[in-house]
C-alpha cells in the first residue's frame, strides 16, 4: 500500500506549494514549506518500503531531512521576527520593497 502514501505525498506537496503561493501570512508560508518537507519525507519512506521494513538509507535521509527542515524553520521564524520588527506585520505584501 506504499502507493497510497506516494499519492498522499504528492497531494501534500501540492498543498504545500499551494499554501506558499496563496497565503500572505509569512508564518503560513513557513508552514507550507514544512508541509512540503513532510511530503518529500513521506515519499522517501513510501518508496523505500518493501512491505515490511523501510530501507535504512531512506530512513537516515529522512532523519537528516527532518532535522534540516527544523533548522530552516527556526531560521525562517527568526527572520519573520526581524521582518516583523521592520514592517510591523507578518504580511508578505509588506515585503515588496525589493523589486524591478
Amino acid at each position: 500500500m506504499a502507493e497510497v502514501f506516494t499519492a498522499a505525498a504528492l497531494a501534500l506537496f501540492l498543498v504545500g506549494i499551494y499554501c506558499i503561493i496563496t497565503k500572505r501570512n509569512l508564518i503560513k508560508i513557513v508552514v507550507g514549506m514544512e508541509i512540503m518537507t513532510a511530503a518529500v519525507n513521506l515519499n522517501f519512506i513510501s518508496l523505500a518500503w518493501n512491505g515490511e521494513v523501510a530501507d535504512p538509507l531512506a530512513s537516515s535521509i529522512v532523519l537528516i531531512s527532518i532535522a534540516i527542515a527544523a533548522a530552516i524553520a527556526a531560521l525562517a521564524l527568526s527572520l519573520i521576527i526581524n521582518a516583523f520588527k521592520h514592517t510591523g506585520s507578518v504580511d508578505s505584501r509588506k515585503l515588496r520593497r525589493l523589486r524591478w
Binding site: 506549494i17 503561493i21 497565503k23 508578505s92 525589493l98
Partner: protein, 678 residues
Amino acid sequence: MVDVTYSALLPAVLCWTIPVAGAFATLGLSKVGARARDYGAVLTSILAAISAASLLPLLPSEGLPIDIRFDWVTLPFSEMPLSIGAGFLIDPLSIILCNVVSVIGSLIMVYSLKYMEGDPSLTRYWFFMNLFLGNMLLLVLSDNFVQMLFGWEGVGVCSYALIGFWHSDSKEDWLKCWVGEGKESCPPSHSGMKAFIMTRFGDVLMLMGVFLLIVALGTANFLELQNGAASVAGPYKFLLLPAALLIFGGAVGKSAQLPLMEWLPDAMTGPTPVSALIHAATMVKAGVYLVARVFPIFYIALVADPALITFFQVVAWVGALTAFVAATQATVSTELKKVLAYSTVSQIGYMMLGMGVAGTVAEFYIGYAGGVMHLMSHAVFKAALFLSAGAVIHAVNSRFMYHMGGLGKKMPLTYVAMLASSLSLMGMPVFFSGFWSKDMVLESALLAGQYPLLMLGLLTVSVTCFYTVRMLGLVFHGKPSEHQAAEAAAGHLHLGDPSPKMTVPYQILAAATVAMGVTGYFQREWLVKLFAGYYSGIFALGHIEISEGLMPQLFTAALSTLFLLAGAVPAYLIYFRGRTPPQSGLLSSIRNLLFRRYYLNALYYALFVNPTMWLAERLYSAMEVGFFDRLNAGIAAAARSASSKLRKSHAGDLNYNVLAFAVGLALLMLIILVVVIW
C-alpha cells in the same frame, strides 16, 4: 618599342620637367624677391620652349616614332600581365603640339609680366601657370594612356586653380573678373569648380574607355595599342567601339564640345592670359590631341571591326554641330572674352570635324593634317585675340563690349593685331592662316562626301564672320561708351596701347598668323606629306601617293569665301556702318535663345546640379535623420521598453515568486510531455 634614341630623351624630359620644376622653384624664389620670381617663371617657360624646339629637327626624319620607355608599374601576377611604362612618344604629332604649347605659352608668360603686375597672389599665378605648361607638355609627350592621364588631370587641376584665380569673388571688380549677366552671372570660384567638374565628367568616361581598351588589348601604350588593334579578335572585339566612344567623351569634356561645352564660356573668369593659355593654345586642344592620338588605333582597327566607323562619324558630327552652335552663341554675346570663348569652342569643332571625316575615308591625311593645321593656326590667332582683348579690357576696366567702342584710334597697335588675327579667324583668303587650315577641313568633308557636314561647316563660316566683324565693330568702331566717360571722370581710365611687354607678344602672334597665312600653301603640303608619310609606315600601307587634285581645293576656297562674305557683309553694315538691324519677334526670340545658351546651361542645372543638391538635402533629412537616426533610436527604445515591460514582472512579491517557480515546473513537465515523451 621602336628604335630608342636617347638623344631625343633629354629634350623630351626637360621639356616638361623644366616648367614643373620651375613651378616649385617659384615658391622658393618668391622668398628671394618679386622680380626674381617673375622673371624666373618666364625664363622657365622660355627654356621649355627651347627644349621643345630642339625636338623639331627630328621632324622629317625617318626614325620616328621614338618611344623611350622605362619600367613604371609592373604587375607580373595579374590575371592580365600588365606593365605600365613611363615613357615618351616622339612622333610628328607630339613634336608639333609641344612646340605650339611651349612657344605660345612662353609668349603668354611674357605678356603676364605686365598684365598681372601688382597682383598680391602672383606666386600662386606663376606656380600654376608653369605647372600647367609642364602638365600640358607631359600630356602630349606621354607614350601611354596612364601617364597621359597625369598630364590630363594635371591641366585640369591647374585650370581649376587659374580660372578661379581671383577666388575672393570680389564684387568690386566684378566688371573684370566675373562672367555672364543676370541669371548666367558667375563668379570665379564657381566657374573654376564648374570647369573642373564638367571636364571630369568627360574624364571619367574616358577613364572607362581606357579601362575597356586595356582589358581588350592588354596594354596602355599607344604604339602597342596601334599594333594590337588590327589583330584584336574574339571576345574583345566588341569592346573597341564603346572604348573609342568613351575615350572621345574625354575629348568632348576637355575640348568643350557638345554636350559638355558649357564650362568654357564661364571659364572666362580667369585672368586674360590664363584664358589665352588655357582656352586658346593648350588645354582645350588636349581633346583634339587625344582624338589625333587615338586616331591611328581605331583607324587600324577598322579592319577588325568596321563598326568603328561610327566613332569617326560621331566625332565629325559632334565637331560640326559644336562649331555651328557655339558660333551662333557668339553672335549675341555682350562680353568680349565670351565671344572669343564661344569662338574657341566653335573652332575646335572644326578640328574635330576634320579628324572625324578623316577616319571615314582612305585619304585620311587631308582631314588629319587639316585638323592639326587648324589647331596650330587657331592656337596662334586665338592667343593673339585673347591677349589683345586683355589689353582692351585692361584699358576699359570692363569685360562688356557695350562699355567699349571707338577704341581703334586710341589703341592702334592692339587694333592692328586684333584685326589681323580676326581676319585669320574668319578665314579671310589668302594671307591669313585660318583660311588654309579651315579650308582643309572643309575640303576633307567634301572629299569624304559628307555634304551635310560640309554644309554645317560652311554655315559656321558665315556665322563666324558675322560675330567677328560684330566684335571688331563694337570694340574698335563707333562711339565711346558712357562707361568710358564715367571711368575717365573717376580717373580710372588709361586708354591707349599698353607697354611693350604686353603688346609685343600679341604683335608677334599676329605677325605669325599672317606669316603662316602667307606660307599657307607650303605649310599645308608639308603637313600632308608629313602625316601621310608617317602613318603609311604605321598602317603598313606602303608609300601613299598623295592624290590630291587642285579642283576640290579651289572649290572649297570659293565656297568658303562666298559664305564668308555672306556673314561678314551684314555685320559690317550693322556694326561699322551703323545700319539698324532688322527687328522682329522671331529674331529677338532667337537672340534670347542664343543669349541663354540654348538653355543648355539652365538645363544642366535643372537636370543635374539642382536635383543633386536637392537629393543631398533630402537624403540627409529623409534617410539619415529621418530613417537611420530614428531606426537607431527606435531599436534603443524598443530594447528599453522591452526590458522595462519585462521588469514589471518582477514585482518583488514572494508569493508570485513561488508561483513563478510552480509555473516553471509545470512548463518543464509540459515540455517533457509534449515534446519528449510524445
